[in-house]
């Protein structure tokens, strides 16, 4: 992967990219940096033998020392700044490409800052997937520019890509959209927006919310309009595509808060793989993550009921899908389970998820896990399984 810029690595900075004083606001610094970088390039372009170039301060800091700071008593590291410069047309294809993609990313950022809108790294990538080649190229450059200018990524007006998807029988009003949006009844691809962009939410028609680990399962259910057709009533389908991002978690919490009305309560279900990651994902929605411990109390949804998948249901034939649906745990799975059991109070012997703890131990005992795909083949398939479970566990 052509990500290491060693070919054009310059040991000393040809020009300090930013000499703005520390006092100016991040937004100002971003604008001034972009303006000066672009004007330098334009000047070079307009001269007959000019060499337009872009200089980036590398984030892969060379750690030259680890030490206990005598001043703070803390473990600190000493890093030396390194810069790299991409010139057009450069000495080879790689440098030319690198200059081009860096320009594309910078103009994407400039555009967002100019218009005052927040774009995602994904938006920038999709402006020209062919030239970027992969999302990671964009991600790294955005972070490189933020580092070079010395600001947080938010100051570049680049947010994390919306990841979660939702479809269901609810009404909401999104910031900058004139009408309450009913499109999600039809369109399964509604990305979950930032919590502050949801101005109104009405869930009065809804009986349940089903949180899905797998996007494939979400698409299957959304495609057959399970949120309308379920025997358990009208519902909302949500997926965070694996481990949920903060927006998806905030959205679930928003639903949870909106549903706490005196006369009616939404039922929340989670359908995850019968493996350690599935259990950890369920726990992230329900209790929060260790990484965002300080925000968990505003993001969790303590009412979530765990629908499955349980390895025991498959072993005992409750799901009649056959034991062939079980897969051996990998070494990583076993280590992950042990780490979950020892580090996370959710799975403690006196913790809130006794059934989950027993399930994790049972995976270790039997050395098996179960993935969602097996439900497709079971008796009556996924839909009947869900209808049964959601009516049964209520």
């Amino acid at each position: 992967m052509p990500l290491t810029p060693d070919a054009s690595h310059a040991p000393s900075p040809p020009q300090p990219p930013s000499t703005l004083d520390e006092e100016s606001s991040p937004q100002t610094r971003v604008k001034e940096h972009i303006a000066s970088a672009l004007s330098t390039i334009l000047t070079e372009l307009s001269s007959p033998d000019g060499h337009p170039s872009l200089t980036i301060k590398l984030r892969s800091n060379k750690v030259s020392a680890r030490f206990i700071s005598p001043r703070t008593g803390a473990l600190e590291t000493q890093v030396s700044d390194t810069y790299t410069t991409y010139t057009w047309p450069g000495k080879d294809y790689y440098e030319a490409w690198k200059f081009t993609v860096a320009m594309r990313v910078l103009s994407g950022i400039a555009d967002a800052v100019d218009k005052g809108v927040v774009v995602s790294k994904r938006d920038i990538y999709y402006q020209d997937p062919a030239i970027f080649g992969s999302q990671r190229v964009v991600d790294r450059l955005v972070d490189d520019f933020a580092h070079t200018i010395g600001v947080d990524r938010v100051a570049l007006n680049v947010g994390a890509a919306a990841k979660g998807l939702v479809v269901g029988c609810f009404h909401w009003r999104i910031k900058d959209q004139a009408m309450a949006d009913d499109a999600h009844f039809l369109n399964a691809d509604t990305l979950i927006p930032s919590p502050q962009d949801i101005q109104e939410m009405n869930v009065s028609d809804v009986d349940w919310v089903l949180i899905l680990e797998k996007e494939a399962v979400y698409r299957r259910l959304a495609g057959m309009k399970y949120h309308v057709r379920s025997t358990a009533g009208l519902g909302i389908l949500v997926t965070g595509k694996g481990y949920p991002d903060l927006k998806t978690r905030a959205f679930i919490r928003r639903l949870y808060d909106a549903s706490r009305q005196p006369n009616k309560r939404l039922r929340f279900y989670a359908l995850v793989d019968g493996d350690p990651d599935g259990m950890a994902i369920m726990s992230t929605y329900k209790y929060g993550s260790l990484a965002y411990a300080h925000e968990n109390s505003t993001l969790n949804c303590s009412d979530i009921r765990w629908l499955g998948l349980r390895t025991s249901d498959i072993v005992t034939g409750v799901d009649r899908s056959g034991n062939d649906a079980l897969v051996s745990l990998t070494d990583r799975d076993r280590k992950k389970i042990l780490a979950m059991l020892s580090n996370n109070p959710v799975w403690a012997v006196d913790g809130p998820e006794q059934e989950g703890r027993a399930e994790l131990l049972q995976m270790l005992m039997l050395n098996v896990k179960a993935e969602m795909q097996i439900l497709y083949d079971g008796d009556g398939g996924l839909v009947q399984w869900l209808d049964r479970r959601m009516t049964h566990i209520s």
């Binding site: 005992t316 020892s342 012997v349 703890r357 027993a358 131990l361 270790l364 005992m365 050395n367």
Partner: protein, 336 residues
Amino acid sequence: MSRVSALAPAAGKLSAHMFCVRIVSPSKQYLSCGSADNAHPTDIYGLAVTDKQILSASGSSSLKVHSTVDPDFPLVQSIDEAHKLGCHHVVTNSKGSRAASIGFVGEIAIWSCHDDIWSKDSIAPVNQAGSVGIWAIALSEDGQYLAGVSQDGHVKVWDLNANGEQIRDYETKGSFGTCIDLSADGRFLASGHENGSVYIFSTETGRMPFSLSGLVKPVRTVAFSPGGKFLAAAGDSKVIVLYDTSSGEQVANLSGHAAWIMSLSWSNTGEYLLSGSFDGKVKVWSIDTRACVATHSETEKSIWSVRWLPKVGRSEGFATAGASRSIAFYREATGG
């Protein structure tokens, strides 16, 4: 013949054909005779029996010791903080002087018993076994040798009287080792694996005389008969296979379980084999007739471990435990 007179009361109502079958394999009755309710706060994975006690291991950190001499099966000792994340195998020698247990992190603990009270031994090399990924363990009758099978299919033996020195290391094809047993005379070692393999090793020569065929699905339990003539193996294929240990031949298939078989135990005389399965069923098999003579299905919760108890008078009994978190005790119905 007391066995014939112990026909199930229901047998009289069965059809002639069924009745014939019953004659061939007279059923036996085992009655519930007590239980240690909620002995553990989580599933019980392992039981070990001595002449007067039963030790149990679970997904919590304590090992529990109940008396089997007292008809109320009281708790006599709780060994707290034995294994931080819980314990899946506990084994003892038959006279009850030594025990070994292995926790989910792979750590092995050796215990010795004085005046019916267990305390931890510090036998050092075995304590490093965690790094080699041992899963199941077995202890020799005299308590001198500890055997273990690892997640990468190695079978190891330690001499506990020589400060836990490792004296054997057999290599197999690398499939996860799920279960292990030592013959009563200590001459043979058997291991069962996730890929269905069953191996018998000679502890004297260090050779592997037999790699046994017959099971293709994961093996969950292996057990030598008291005289060492047979090895019984079972698991996900729901069938118990009996092997002749002198020839390696498969001599019988005992079928009847409808779920994975998690645990096997031989009666003291070797006449009966006890089995427990994931659907909560417990069966007693006659080795003479190769037939199931009793089935218990009080619970639908998984059975993880079954063990015969020491004989009291003429009557034999057994204990079962699993996801019910309780230990259930049964005794053979005597007389009529």
